[in-house]
Amino acid sequence: MTGENDPFVQLQQVTLTYGQGEKTVAALGETNLKIGKGDFVALVGPSGCGKSTILKLVTGLITASSGWVFVAGREVGAEPVRVGMAFQNPTMLPWLSIRDNVMLPLKIVPPFRQQFRAKRKTEFRDRADALLKQVGLAGFGDKFPWQLSGGMLQRASLCRALIHDPQLLMLDEPFGALDQFTREELWAIMQDLWMTRRPTVLLVTHDLKEAGYLANRVCVMRARPGRIVEDCHVDLPRPRTIEMTYEPGFVSLTQRLRELIVSARAPDAAKTEVPA
């Protein structure tokens, strides 16, 4: 299931520091991480521990200070890997209808972009509508972003992240700003989307229940410098249900994760200086 022998994403002795000279801040200490193709990995930890940094390294938005980031067997950026991203803020373009927002990646990413003019009113349109239907937004394609609620926008944002069949899906606290019920509903939708399409997913969250429910592996991180301190496998059958999250096995898992984060924070709180 984890496919660690043939990783799709691999971080090898990666570090990241900001600033120069004496003012350097280590955002990410030496980090090693392997993610198998089609796996679902969650990164949890306190804020400022470099969760989002790992996401940005893997998508090539920032470059590592040292070490190597490999995606699809080659250094990041060398291989044209299709990437989808969704953030806490849905960042829909207000001048486009929901359907056009969802179709945006098709306009940008090859091989779709060459066909965009020809197929945007036929095949691509149906594709967007089908995806919107899957997340419960059937019939909302012609609406504009301001006419939808936050939860609905977040669903649309997931559609936009998935429309171009990404091999790699990056989720940066996409459910963070939603209420509990909407969140749980979207977890189920997310699991459904993952199971039908099987992209390699990297989810950043600070919700342990969310991490345990969605991911195959949960990586616990600590801050200053950010590093992965624990890598837990979640061996629950799929599709998982919200009821499962109340069972003893799941509760003890989240408790263990919680303790790991708290104990990772404890020695850190005493230290004021960043180790060089």
Partner: protein, 257 residues
């Protein structure tokens, strides 16, 4: 619908009331025509002198529109350049602010020196006056793109041009239209300044000649023509704005269309 009609009626009443008050004050205080003509006198002059005023009006409108058009082109070009490049921003902004601080009246003689008196200096003055707000607004619209949105685009391996056309420019549209409404009136100011200084045609020139012969009602008639032209163009751009960027105002009829 009724509420809208009532609002329109009210604003029309206030505007007409302003002119009636003006008329009344002139009559009550016996204000001389040479100091401040009554609105009725201005309208009479406008009516009687219409054949003489008309060619000047056409000339001014033509000059303004050409200058404004050029102002939009150069303004958008410079705005995109400054808004999307750090270097251009650092170099361009101080230059631009310095340039726009220069009184445009002072520039007209230079244009006359280069191109001779007539339409060309007026077009250029209208252009440089209308350009500045467009540059600033387009640049601001581009520079304030959400970083997360840019991340989404970059993760899709979008080129700079992709980001500009799909995110930057549409985002800058409300800023652009806001600046157009300011710029179009500034273009009129530029035209009239140049016409006053160095031209033998246009409303500016007409007003110059009228004031030198103390024909104050004709001067005011010229002002009225300018005001009407300005309001007209402003209204046209407001309508276009509503059509193009209804999303920014969350207009429901935009959503349905």
């Amino acid at each position: 619908m009724k509420a809208i009609n009532r609002r329109r009626l009210q604003s029309a009443a206030v505007i007409i009331g302003f002119f009636l008050l003006w008329e009344l004050i002139c009559v009550v205080f016996h204000v001389k025509e040479i100091v401040l003509p009554r609105p009725s006198q201005i309208l009479t002059t406008l009516w009687l002198q219409a054949p003489a005023i008309w060619p000047h009006t056409v000339q001014t409108l033509y000059t303004t529109l050409v200058g404004f058009g050029l102002g939009i082109l150069t303004g958008v070009f410079l705005g995109v350049l400054i808004g999307s490049s750090r270097l251009a921003y650092d170099v361009g902004y101080p230059l631009l602010i310095g340039f726009s601080s220069i009184p445009k009246v002072a520039v007209v003689p230079i244009f006359v020196l280069w191109f001779g008196a007539g339409t060309v200096p007026a077009v250029l003055t209208a252009m440089i006056m209308s350009m500045f707000p467009i540059v600033v607004n387009v640049a601001t619209g581009l520079a304030t793109t959400e970083p997360e949105l840019e991340d989404v685009m970059k993760a899709l391996r979008a080129t700079k041009l992709d980001i500009l056309t799909n995110v930057g420019l549409p985002r800058a549209m409300p800023y652009f239209f806001a600046s157009l409404k300011v710029s179009v009136t500034l273009a009129f100011v530029g035209t009239v300044i140049a016409e006053t200084v160095a031209s033998n045609r246009g409303i500016g020139n007409l007003m110059m000649i009228a004031s030198s012969s103390f024909d104050v009602p004709l001067v005011f008639a010229g002002l009225l023509v300018l005001a009407v032209l300005g309001v007209g163009l402003y209204a046209i751009f407001s309508v276009i704005e509503g059509r193009v960027i209804g999303w920014a105002k969350r207009k429901d009829d935009f959503a349905l269309g």
